[in-house]
Amino acid sequence: MGKADQISSSLWFGLSLLVMYGSYRLGLGILTNPGPGFLPFWCGVILCGLSALVFVQGRLTKRREGGRLLSQLWIGMDWPKPIYVIAALLAYGLTLNYLGFLVSTTLLLIFLFKAIEPETWLRAIVGAVLAVVSSYALFGVWLQVQLPRGFLEKLLF
């Protein structure tokens, strides 16, 4: 984990500096009356120290093990698949209000059924529609969860 630890601890180190800066601006207060930035500031300090420690440990491990590459974390894995899923979920989250639950979820499920371990188009579409309709009936109709209707609201409701 040498190289990987160095990279991850650098990111946490950067975050700790941001937290310390933000907390300082919020106001640390005094010990008898700690301000809103008091606890996060000291959390930032501890995070800073620990990330430095993990960085040093990572450097020592890297020397001992001859330096493993970061890519080794994904060796033997089908690494594009999680990226597809994340991209699809992000697109879903950003378009949910505009496309509405029915359309966006059907598109998402068709993509997931097709992209990860490909099903036939017919199976993917039928599976997605069935899942969306039954979940809409369960949550939207029975449990009365107000799922977003999107552009269909103007057309159908």
Binding site: G27, P36, L39, I46, P82, Q146
Partner: protein, 500 residues
């Protein structure tokens, strides 16, 4: 009201048709997620949490608790039949359970796991009934310094027992505290780390955070690798253990029940550690330790009893002190807070229906689980055959609907996706999500207790060392934090060494 009266009252709450239904749904889903590798009790509970907002708090806690102990039952099925633990606490059951299955003794292995779990579950519920009221009585004397130190101690123990690097686990606890205090500060009214996003004024939601960290991240990890499942082909018959099996298992079940209960109470302990400890003890007590790993029934009976008993023990610090001892209890604490109930010493007094109703429902749930796991074993074997490519889009669908339904907010959906990516990367880079989640839940309470303690003491930290309970806790916490940080022992934690 005496103990017997309380138990009768508890049954009168738990046996109402609606609470029986919630109990059944909980244990059914618990068994299901225990059986299905790739989604643990934490993922399932976070998934169902938004749905519970539509039901009564008692029904909701009965159902969520049912998922927790139900998963312990279900987890053993996959460990025995396919050598893949359905959830973490069943890891050790693979060692002998799968070997028994290979020798054609899958039935007795599943049977003793279910009976052992039932007996241990019963022991832990009785323990919970006896210990919790006494603990609550004692906790009434606790002030902010004691609470602060107990919370620190709880987090420290969880970190100390973490399965990977201790400095990394400590880092995650600190990140959890930071995430927990995002939002408007209740004391000063200042907006902390909200970046002008209106939805963050109330803080980062528990549901999107845990769903992302435990649900979405698990899916992301599973889609990049294909889970190999080779189910034992032979017919599973003869689920009732023989007389010899019972003779061999009686003492392991008894020991496992007590070990599990007491380790479950300890912050950071819980089901995983108790199953490992039980296995180690059974191996040491056995006249034939060489048979362990070759299909010894004691290696199934002990750990399965221990992990079930630990679930009952884990409720004690939550219900009496308001301090969760593990990440599942942290989720339950979050749920209770959302329902407007404050777990702590006064919970039993103020909400006896909740406490006694939930506790007695566990007994009923254990009986339901015995029926679900023995006569219906064939059903769970069929569930195991559902391919993951069908399962994961449905898990994602439930996550998305669940998180959206809490506040009808797409920001929550995006927070969940962000937490999912964070959780995925954390698993890749060997950072644990459990300390982060526990610290996130405890963060606001911890800050409040710290502020109150400093105000009481006029800004002096000596208050944590001059009061006996907090002093003992503080010394233990300091020892636990600094001992592993020494470079020559800090690389791996005891749990990991034990796991090896």
């Amino acid at each position: 009201m005496d103990l017997l009266g309380n138990i009768v009252y508890g049954f009168s709450v738990a046996l109402t048709p609606i609470n029986l239904l919630y109990c059944f749904i909980g244990v059914f889903i618990g068994t299901l997620v225990g059986v299905l590798p790739g989604i643990g009790p934490m993922g399932a509970m976070s998934l169902l949490l938004p749905m519970t907002f539509h039901v009564s708090p008692i029904g909701a806690i009965i159902m969520l608790s049912g998922i927790y102990y139900g998963a312990m039952y279900g987890g053993s099925t996959t460990s025995i039949l396919i050598n893949i633990p359905g959830e973490a606490a069943s890891v050790v059951t693979c060692l002998d359970g799968y070997q028994m299955a290979l020798q054609g003794r899958a039935g007795p292995a599943l049977g003793i796991a279910a009976f052992g779990s039932f007996i241990a579950g019963t022991v832990s519920i009785v323990g919970l009934m006896l210990v919790a009221p006494l603990m609550a009585e004692a906790a009434l004397k606790f002030g902010p310094p004691e609470y602060f130190i107990l919370m620190v101690l709880g987090m420290t123990l969880l970190i100390y027992l973490a399965s990977g690097s201790i400095p990394k686990a400590l880092m995650m606890a600190v990140v959890g505290i930071i995430l927990g205090i995002v939002g408007i500060d209740v004391t000063s009214g200042a907006q902390r780390f909200t970046f002008g996003i209106l939805e963050l004024n109330d803080g980062i939601g528990l549901v999107p955070l845990v769903m992302g960290l435990f649900g979405i991240s698990e899916v992301l990890l599973n889609v990049e690798q294909s889970l190999k499942r080779e189910i034992i082909k032979a017919r599973i018959g003869g689920l009732l253990p023989s007389r010899q099996d019972w003779r061999n298992s009686a003492k392991p079940i008894a020991r496992g029940s007590f070990i599990g209960f007491f380790l479950g109470i300890l912050p950071g302990g819980g089901a995983l550690i108790s199953s490992f400890v039980s296995y180690a003890i059974e191996k040491r007590f056995s006249r034939h330790p060489e048979k362990f790993g070759q299909g010894a029934i004691e290696g199934v009976a002990g750990p399965e009893s221990a992990n079930n008993s630990a679930t009952g023990g884990a409720f004690i610090p939550l219900l009496t002190l308001g301090i969760p001892s593990n990440v599942v209890m942290a989720l339950l604490l979050g749920a209770l807070t959302i329902y407007g109930m404050q777990p702590g010493p006064l919970l039993i007094k103020n909400h006896p229906d909740l406490f006694w109703g939930v506790v007695t429902s566990m007994y009923i749930g254990n009986a339901m689980l015995l029926i679900l796991n023995l006569p219906l074993i064939g059903l769970w074997v069929q569930v195991l055959k559902v391919p993951y490519r069908i399962l994961f889009p449905l898990i994602l669908l439930f996550c998305l609907i669940g998180v959206y339904s809490v506040n009808y907010s797409t920001t929550d959906v995006l927070i969940m996706i962000g937490s999912g990516v964070l959780g995925y990367l954390m698993k890749k880079f060997k950072y644990e999500a459990a300390p982060l989640t526990l610290a996130y839940v405890l963060g606001p309470m911890l800050e409040m207790a710290l502020r109150q303690s400093l105000t009481i003491s006029n800004g002096s930290f000596s208050i944590f060392f001059t009061r006996p309970i907090s002093a003992v806790g503080a010394v233990i916490a300091i020892l636990l934090i600094f001992y592993p940080l020494l470079p020559w022992v800090g690389k791996r934690s005891p749990a990991m060494r034990k796991g090896e």
